[in-house]
């Protein structure tokens, strides 16, 4: 296992009012993303525990693009990763943002 942490400044606060959301499951090639609205509006943090050791640079690149594209201000992402591929990571992050931005359910 490897722990990775990333802090970013986001252009804007993420939409919606929902406090938390979770997508995905921890399985081979898959991951879960728990997203919580718990940070100042301009901040974004990601805590990753991954089963695939040595992919820090790739995570960094995926997250740079994600933050740039979705501007997830105020959100903290906690990730348990079963060795997912970068495209799956991008997809789950986007799904997590969609879920927490959609109000109610």
């Amino acid at each position: 296992m490897e722990d990775l942490n990333f802090q970013h400044r986001a252009r804007a606060r993420a939409g919606g009012t929902r406090q938390s959301a979770i997508v995905g499951v921890v399985a081979s090639g898959n991951l879960e993303v728990l997203v919580e609205r718990s940070l100042p509006d301009a901040d974004c943090a990601l805590e990753i525990k991954t089963a695939a050791v040595g992919f820090g640079e790739v995570w960094s690149a995926v997250i740079d693009d994600f933050v740039e594209r979705y501007s997830p201000g105020g959100l903290k992402f906690s990730i348990n990763d079963g060795g997912a591929r970068p495209d799956t990571v991008s997809l789950r992050l986007a799904q997590a943002v969609r879920l927490i931005e959609g109000n109610g359910q």
Partner: protein
């Protein structure tokens, strides 16, 4: 034929969503009345396994089981759903404790039924002792909840089946609903093959696995009381049907069930294969049972008419 998910209303989604394929959370969301689910010890509380880190394995925030309460056709229910993709839905310490706690809550209240959506290969190898203890605690908690008057219904149709300790717990429930892809047993196919040889049981012969442990066979034997088509909506309807069917729990029921099982063993104990049992039940072209569509099969199972009286 199929519209994107976001365009359709919840009941439609429940009808078009495969129970087998859905995640534990999606199963609960669509099984219960829309928006009624409230989770206990949700993922944001991060009650993860204390053991997996030692084995350098990834954790899941809910430890592979979602527990809580909600409403089914307006009435309150407790629910637990295992996530069969995380470690095969296996029971660990936290995972087991969440289910035990839920059942004890049902025992205290007495009138609110429990739905357990099984999806498990059994006990998690990395926390075997804690897992085995959890199975025993859960079995006791199921019986205590039932004595207190709470109905405990098992719904089985996930990809990991209901094996090992899960099979034992299912045996303690008031009633079970199962779908075609659902499997119920204690020893899994690979375990049998490893211990008894490939001649005894070829675990890669999936048709054999399903006609021995799969939903259709379990329904025909009376081990499961209702057969559901593989949609969440069908499981919802099956759960409602079972809640209305299940009678009070007591010694008379157990004695009757004991007699039924003894009779079943006398009738079919000599059969080599499930097809022989179905043939002995008087089913014409028994070898074609696995190919039957859900409605034809339900009609057949109702005609055969075997249901458990209490245990299985």
């Amino acid at each position: 034929m199929i519209a994107p998910l976001k365009d359709i209303i919840p009941a439609e989604r429940a009808r078009s969503t495969s129970f087998n394929e859905a995640s534990a959370r999606t199963r609960l969301e669509l099984l219960l009345d829309a928006g009624s689910f409230v989770e206990f010890i949700g993922p944001e509380q991060r009650e993860v396994s204390p053991h997996l880190r030692i084995f350098d394995l990834p954790e899941q925030f809910d430890d592979g089981i979602v527990v809580g309460h909600g409403r089914l056709d307006g009435s309150p229910v407790f629910v637990a759903a295992q996530e069969g993709r995380f470690m095969g839905g296996a029971f660990g310490e936290v995972h087991g404790a969440k289910l035990t706690g839920l059942l004890r809550a049902a025992r205290e209240i007495g009138s609110i039924p429990v739905l357990i959506l099984f999806d498990t290969g059994g006990v998690r190898l990395q926390e075997a002792n804690a897992g085995e203890l959890a199975i025993a605690e859960i079995m006791r908690a199921v019986m205590e909840a039932r004595i207190a008057g709470a109905k405990v219904i098992g719904l089985i149709g996930g990809r990991s089946g209901c094996y090992g300790g899960g099979g034992l717990i299912a045996g303690c429930c008031s009633a079970l609903a199962v779908s075609e892809p659902g499997r119920i047993a204690v020893s899994g196919p690979e375990v049998i093959e490893t211990n008894r040889g490939v001649e005894e049981f070829d675990s890669r012969d999936r048709a054999l696995v399903w006609r021995t442990m799969g939903g259709k066979h379990r329904r025909l034997l009376g081990a499961a009381d209702v057969f559901a088509d593989d949609t969440v909506q069908d499981f919802r309807e099956a759960a409602l049907e079972l809640l209305s069917l299940v009678g009070p729990f007591g010694l008379d029921g157990l004695r009757a069930e004991q007699a039924r099982l003894a009779d079943r063993l006398r009738s079919f104990g000599g059969c080599e294969d499930a097809v022989d049992i179905w043939t002995a039940e008087g089913i014409a072209h028994a070898e074609r049972v696995p190919e039957l569509s859900a409605d034809l099969f339900i009609a057949l199972a109702n005609r055969i008419g075997r249901t458990s009286r209490d245990a299985r």
